[in-house]
């Protein structure tokens, strides 16, 4: 069979819709992983040991096993305990939790690197420990790790392809749908790759802007 990329044009709407879903799932999971990362970091650093330990175990398991395996666990595991989530939601949760753990590691180091004087000054001014953390320490800590968190988001975008295996109709599954009808895997997987590459470029541009802005605000 000769290569014929014009068939991609007939399925451009399918591919475009898939790209939109990929963007949606990436944004959803990125937001979840950002705030999840902050929460996990605070728990890891400040919670009492009985709370900290199970979370430590959780983080350890998420960093030591493949994302694909975790997605299977979340998707089928939740069904088993009676929670039947739509594939999209399961995908966002799976990706979001996975990257929360990685973001949390970054934020933990960053919180520890914030000068102790900041916390002391805030406490002296009458803020509670929690207020000082929320209004003074965490904003600075998070600002410092925006670039590496951005790298995690780029990794997240690419890993979002994995949720196709639990049936989220994002870009990869859209390509597979078109392949099912045309039997042209090469053309459509290349088209999907181009789609991911374009989203990746856009994401990188956005991240660079955010970084510049933060740099300027310093």
């Amino acid at each position: 069979m000769r290569l014929d990329f014009t068939v991609v044009l007939q399925f451009l709407d399918v591919i475009a819709l898939g790209m939109l879903w990929t963007i949606a799932i990436t944004l959803g999971a990125a937001l979840l992983s950002f705030f999840g990362g902050i929460v996990l970091a605070v728990i890891a650093l400040y919670a009492p040991i009985l709370v900290r330990l199970p979370f430590r175990l959780f983080a350890w398991m998420f960093m030591g096993t493949p994302l694909l395996l975790q997605l299977f666990l979340i998707y089928f595991g939740l069904v088993q305990i009676g929670i039947d989530l739509p594939a999209f939601v399961a995908g966002v949760i799976g990706l979001g939790l996975h990257f929360s753990v990685y973001n949390s590691e970054l934020i933990q180091t960053s919180i520890q690197a914030i000068d102790k004087g900041q916390m002391e000054a805030a406490r002296t001014m009458g803020l509670s420990r929690w207020q000082a953390l929320r209004k003074v320490v965490i904003p600075q800590a998070v600002r410092d790790v925006i670039p590496p968190i951005g790298n995690n988001m780029i990794a997240l975008l690419k890993d979002s392809a994995l949720v196709s295996v639990i049936g989220v109709s994002e870009l990869t599954l859209s390509a597979q749908l078109a392949i099912g009808r045309t039997y042209r895997p090469f053309e459509f997987y290349v088209a999907a790759a181009v789609g991911y590459y374009m989203i990746n470029l856009a994401l990188e541009a956005v991240l660079r802007r955010i970084e510049r802005r933060i740099e300027a605000a310093r």
């Binding site: 030591g64 493949p66 395996l69 299977f72 690419k158 994995l162 090469f186 990746n200």
Partner: protein, 215 residues
């Protein structure tokens, strides 16, 4: 938790773990080869090579590994490349991690102080001799740790070949989830084996790193 079931089927998981280990080793070797060539290309004096290296890194790092595997395995036959799932898995993953290793190796080489190169050139070493005897030995030490990070990601990345039905750990877990409806048990068994493999590799890398620092 169905321990009886776990006891009955754990041999399948051990066998699958062995496949995952083999995949990881082969992928690491291919990745190191691609990474070395990639870094050499990116640091070349000829702009053609620099371009090829840059495109390789950008395209591979800019698209999902899963899609790259699918292009190779499902799309390959259309352009005359017929590979079985296992070979496609090793080649796809190796070329993929090679792009990340390219940046790691290149990063280590360019972080060796410029004065080293200048001094060595002044002493009459050729460009190649300088690289071989002065820069690379120092860079090698710097790259062990970051390459370890790449290898850690690679081991988890081998799970992707489950999507092209290579029977490794994740595929085995998936298959047993499908037939037993016990996702937690299957996750626990395969997850524990992954963690053992990753932990052991991490220790090995740390040992190598320590040794390299003393020399």
């Amino acid at each position: 938790m169905d321990f009886e079931l776990m006891l009955r089927i754990y041999p399948f998981f051990l066998e699958a773990a062995w496949v995952t280990i083999q995949l990881s080793v082969l992928t690491t070797i291919l990745g190191l080869i691609c990474g070395t060539l990639g870094a050499a290309a990116r640091l070349s004096r000829l702009s053609v090579f620099r371009w090829i290296g840059a495109i390789y890194v950008s395209v591979i790092r800019g698209t999902p590994a899963l899609i790259q595997l699918f292009i190779l395995y499902f799309g390959g036959p259309q352009i005359g490349i017929h590979l079985d799932a296992y070979a496609a898995g090793v080649i796809g993953l190796g070329v993929n991690i090679g792009a990340y290793m390219t940046e790691t190796i290149r990063g280590a080489i360019i972080s060796v102080d410029k004065g080293q190169t200048e001094a060595s050139r002044t002493l009459g070493f050729s460009r190649w001799q300088t690289m071989r005897w002065v820069v690379l030995p120092q860079a090698a030490r710097l790259m062990i740790r970051p390459l370890g990070v790449n290898i850690n990601a690679l081991i988890k990345g081998t799970a992707l070949v489950a999507a092209i039905s290579v029977i490794e750990l994740t595929y085995t877990a998936q298959r047993f989830i499908g037939s037993t409806y016990k996702p937690f048990e299957m996750f626990l068994m395969s997850g524990a084996l992954y963690m053992i493999i990753i932990y052991a590799t991490g220790r090995g890398i740390a040992w190598l790193d320590r040794r390299a620092q003393i020399v």
